[in-house]
């Protein structure tokens, strides 16, 4: 199995996230950056598929040079090699051009299966799996809480989350699978894994290396633009009361006064 897994570096979830005042893109400089937590589940699932069926796991990311830390994490978890698309001109890409760029890189790897996670915590688009499936012309198996691969039959099936349960979805390989966080328990990198990661192959590509047109990427090419950004008015804390045996009644009076009941 030739397994590709996408990972994105994002501001740490405990950090107060901000936009850069000058170009209204995510401020990635003033905060710690980490692997998008959901992508740990994607990497884990890729490793599980490799362990069950053999093959190789290739990590793909698009992001600034610093995103190499996230690649290292995936390699230290056990992925075999990585491709890092990094170029100043990519800064500010929207979801559409990001998906086109990632699809271009991924298609050169001829994967049997492409794994993404359901959402990146900075932008929370929740669209990349669908967009990659569209761009690559592959079946879309997103929102998966369970994945079963049958390489012999060339098939993959998933349990796709639904509001009141799940749908069982089947497709032929190759396919794009998007995983949710309840799918597995990501492993921690071992010391050995961390040491080994340093020697694993890492290909760094510029936009030109990847064959991307200069005009098709980055902020200028984005199909949407941020006009203005402002901090939301802070939420004031309201009335806080200690329960003296009548706490429930007090809440009820509050709700009645607010016409909420």
């Amino acid at each position: 199995m030739n397994i590709v897994v996408t990972v994105k570096q994002v501001p740490d979830t405990w950090a107060e996230k901000k936009l850069d005042a000058s170009d209204k893109t995510v401020d990635r400089k003033s905060v710690d950056n980490v692997m998008n937590e959901m992508d740990e589940y994607g990497v884990e699932e890729a490793l599980k598929i490799k362990e069950a069926h053999g093959g190789e796991v290739t990590v793909v990311t698009m992001g600034p040079d610093k995103a190499v830390e996230t690649i290292r994490k995936a390699l230290s978890m056990g992925a075999d090699k990585a491709v890092h698309l990094s170029d100043e001109s990519l800064h500010g890409s929207d979801a559409l051009s990001t998906s086109a760029a990632l699809a271009k890189v991924i298609s050169t790897l001829s994967p049997d299966i492409v794994i993404t996670s359901s959402e990146a915590s900075d932008a929370r688009g929740g669209v990349m799996g669908a967009l990659l499936a569209e761009r690559l012309g592959l079946p879309q198996l997103t929102q998966a809480r369970k994945v079963t691969v049958d390489p012999g039959a060339g098939k993959v099936s998933v349990e796709r989350l639904a509001d009141n349960g799940y749908a069982l979805v089947e497709a032929s390989l190759p396919a794009v699978v998007g995983v949710v966080e309840k799918i597995n328990q990501p492993r921690y990198p071992s010391f050995k894994g961390i040491m080994a990661a340093k020697k694993k192959p890492l290909t760094k590509l510029s936009a030109a290396d990847a064959g991307l047109d200069a005009g098709s990427v980055g902020l200028p090419a984005a199909a949407s633009t941020v006009l203005e950004a402002q901090p939301a008015p802070p939420r004031q804390s309201g009335t806080i009361v200690k329960d003296e045996g009548d706490g429930g009644a007090k809440v009820a009076s509050y709700l009645a006064a607010q016409k909420l009941i």
């Binding site: 979830t13 996230k17 901000k18 979801a95 559409l96 998906s99 359901s118 959402e119 915590s121 900075d122 929370r124 688009g125 929740g126 669209v127 799996g129 669908a130 967009l131 499936a133 569209e134 592959l138 079946p139 879309q140 198996l141 997103t142 809480r145 099936s157 796709r160 989350l161 639904a162 509001d163 009141n164 349960g165 749908a167 069982l168 979805v169 089947e170 497709a171 949710v180 199909a223 949407s224 633009t225 006009l227 950004a229 901090p231 939301a232 939420r235 804390s237 309201g238 009335t239 806080i240 329960d243 045996g245 706490g247 429930g248 009644a249 809440v251 009820a252 709700l255 909420l260 009941i261």
Partner: protein
């Protein structure tokens, strides 16, 4: 007047409230055309609803190709309609299914995509609350047909009865779009409660409940209020409540009139999914819990005393 395509959000034909919200919003932008995509025989359940909320037209595909495959066939239809009707915008609900269909439609029609809009002006400037609602952004699509994914509970639905012209869409879904086939659907929990993302009132429980069976307290309060039930990640990770009900950064985003947090500390990742609620009420025994920093009304106390009393008092209020 130019058309606005509205992707109808429904379950087996039963429209969801967000459809009425989208149609109401669409009327401020142009002439709303509902796009109903579903399985055979499902449209009948949606017909009157779409008319009630002012759809001027309904584009219609009822087929197994749509119902039994993930996202791609619906995106194929929607993209064809964009090409055929040159609408001013495409509106879809911020649900997992519709956002994926919207994204693929944007890619296919070479258009810009905006997700999680909470408002949209007549000139198609969208408002997005990003980073869990802590930053408010106004944004605009600059290329193609704006495809805008709108959060439920962003627009107050207003009826505007119409007699929509029904137009079946003449399309053969490509084989490529039928790659991911739904072979079975399994219902695990049918609660009879409102949808979490659509509910006007949400009652959520956290680690403070201490055990799965104590969620009964939260459910009872929720049922008294006609509310949906949510849970913190601590509660879903512990297996006390289904993952589908998780609220927060890696769960659902809710924006109800009233959010009641029971035994939830208010971690930044939980806050990201609920802080745009209009009224936040918290019950927590720790006066230092971060949730009190942004609750409108808070009780410092033991939830096992406060919640049953609250439930009783609401029942009395309703009876009285």
């Amino acid at each position: 007047m130019a058309e606005v395509l509205v992707l109808v959000e429904h379950t087996d034909g039963e429209p969801k409230k967000v459809t009425a919200e989208l149609l109401t919003l669409a009327r401020t932008l142009g002439e709303p055309s509902a796009v109903f995509l579903g399985g055979p025989g499902t449209y009948a359940k949606a017909k009157d609803y779409l008319a009630q909320y002012g759809a001027a037209k309904v584009y219609l595909v009822e087929s197994e190709d749509i119902a039994d495959h993930v996202a791609a066939p619906a995106a194929e239809v929607l993209s064809k309609l964009v090409a055929d009707t040159s609408p001013v915008a495409v509106l879809a609900a911020a649900t997992p299914d519709s956002r994926e269909i919207a994204a693929r439609t944007a890619a296919r029609t070479d258009s810009g995509l905006i997700w999680d809009a909470t408002a949209l002006t007549a000139d198609l400037t969208a408002t997005q609350g990003i980073f869990g609602g802590s930053t408010i952004v106004s944004s605009k699509v600059t290329k193609g047909t704006p495809v805008v994914v709108v959060r439920p509970n962003s627009t107050a639905p207003e009826a505007a009865p119409s007699t929509p012209a029904e137009t079946p869409v003449d399309i053969t879904i490509s084989d490529a779009a039928k790659g991911a086939k739904i072979v079975d659907r399994v219902v695990e929990a049918k609660s009879g409660r409102p949808d979490l993302t659509e509910a006007q009132v949400v009652v959520s429980g956290g680690r403070g409940l201490g055990a799965a069976e104590h969620f009964a307290l939260v459910e009872k309060l929720a049922d008294t209020l006609g509310a949906a039930v949510g849970a913190s990640r601590a509660a879903t990770d512990a297996g006390w409540y289904p993952h589908q009900n998780q609220v927060g950064q890696t769960g659902k985003t809710v924006s109800p009139q009233l959010y009641i947090a029971v035994g939830i500390s208010g971690a930044i990742q939980h806050r990201a999914g609920m802080q745009t609620s209009k009224n936040i009420v918290a019950v927590n025994k720790d006066p230092e819990a971060p949730i009190f920093e942004f609750a409108d009304y808070g009780i410092v106390g033991d939830l096992f005393n406060v919640v049953p009393q609250l439930t009783d008092e609401i029942q009395k209020h309703k009876a009285g």
